[in-house]
Subunit: 232 residues, 2 copies
DNA sequence: GTAAAAATAAGACTCAGTTCTATATAAAAT
DNA sequence: ATTTTATATAGAACTGAGTCTTATTTTTAC
């Protein structure tokens, strides 16, 4: 029942409202301002996401058909594919919101820090956000881990992070071509680092201090590995 | 006709023989030692890979069906799926060989260098290998670039690189738990860096000096970004 | 209340991938 | 050389994802 609560809460706030109304909380915009049609759409999408999550947890991703999800949500298969472009998409309903959050968090530090500093602080803020929502992440992780076909799709989604990082680093290197390459390389390295950290955190059951892990790991990049035990 | 030659040559040496006979060149083992049955299997696999490549280049990956590939190769659809687990697999027939090559190249430097040094030198050797085979890589890239669904699959294959890197770095940290984390983070960063470098190289039409690009980029990791323009 | 717009249901369709069976052909045994 | 055994292949039936079209229902606007 914790899961049920989680999915209802998270998907509502973080994903469904997002599409049309942007990033806001229940305080900044009342549900009552939304038309009946919109409310029904939210309900439908929610029903599909909930049904899918339950079935995926019960029987696994591969063993669940789109028909079953639609049936459980009391909607048609057509409607399922209207709301989610693919069966895989329903596993990651909050991807878009997370990406925009990351962008915003980095933007918050842009004024007071260098490009890399803003990226680093934004990522650490994101780490804190992840820790707050470790329960959701654990559920999603459980579904993804149980399905090989979902694992690279997860990677695919995470890859968008690199674009956001590169985007911010590149903003500081307009008209400087040499720096552009350097920015892209650093974005790649930062992204690879983050993936490794996240993997480690997940594998430990999301129990560690992700902010500290992230900070420590990024210090490797800042200081370089020239003096370490892996020196060439 | 360069393409045709490429596919015949590469797939034969790098992939088909690989499965049963391991990594060798035409000098180390004559084709005549191989039984008729094996030769036919090679021919079938080759015919399928060739037919697929041609059709993918002509009509794109998504617009080519497994039936068409089989028909062009004068084999049945069943046979196609016997040789290639998925339609996507036929696009990357040399993946296994490249991975083993990387392992070997890193291993060559293990004796004379620290773990990171061996990884770095192995990767630069690999860069040289890539430059030698830029024509094949360009063709493959063209097919992959034209198909969104193949792009993340490529990422998926490349991901194996990180495992190889991590594997070698970890070998040096047995019994040292703190270093294990550090090794994984570094592997992630190196891998992310390499992906960024390769992407840049591909996007420039494989014309740049990949070895130099790789070396320069890895120096960022060695020296750190603390003193650069992206300092925090 | 009515007309326009949008959401949904239903079903036909394509194609990837699996499974099974029958047949052809190569390898091994005698 | 002939038989036996192993395996490559063809073919066909099947499942399920995703697309597309059409008809029906629901919401909104007037």
């Amino acid at each position: 029942m914790t899961f049920k609560l989680f999915y209802t809460t998270i998907t509502m706030h973080a994903n469904v409202f997002w599409e049309k109304y942007g990033f806001f909380t229940e305080r900044s915009k009342s549900i009552m301002e939304i038309s009946l049609r919109e409310r029904k759409k939210i309900k439908s999408r929610q029903a599909l996401a909930d049904a899918a999550s339950q079935l995926f947890l019960e029987k696994g991703f591969e063993n669940t058909t789109a028909d079953e999800i639609a049936e459980k949500a009391e909607l048609s298969r057509s409607t399922f594919f209207r709301y989610f472009k693919t069966k895989e998409a329903v596993v990651f309903p909050q991807q878009q919101e997370r990406m925009e959050r990351l962008r915003e968090l980095i933007r918050n530090h842009e004024k007071d820090h260098t490009p890399f500093g803003a990226v680093k602080l934004g990522l650490l803020d994101m780490a804190a956000y992840f820790m707050e929502h470790r329960d959701e992440l654990t559920v999603q992780r459980r579904i993804v881990q149980a399905s090989p076909s979902l694992q690279y799709r997860q990677v695919d989604f995470d890859r968008e992070w690199e674009d956001v990082i590169a985007e911010h680093l590149l903003a500081a290197t307009r008209f400087k071509r040499a720096d552009e390459h350097r920015a892209r390389y650093i974005a790649g390295a930062v992204f690879g680092l983050i993936e490794a950290v996240l993997r480690g955190w997940f594998d430990e059951g999301c129990q560690g201090d992700l902010v500290k892990m992230g900070g420590d790991s990024m210090d490797i990049l800042v200081e370089g590995i020239g003096g370490g035990e892996f020196d060439r």
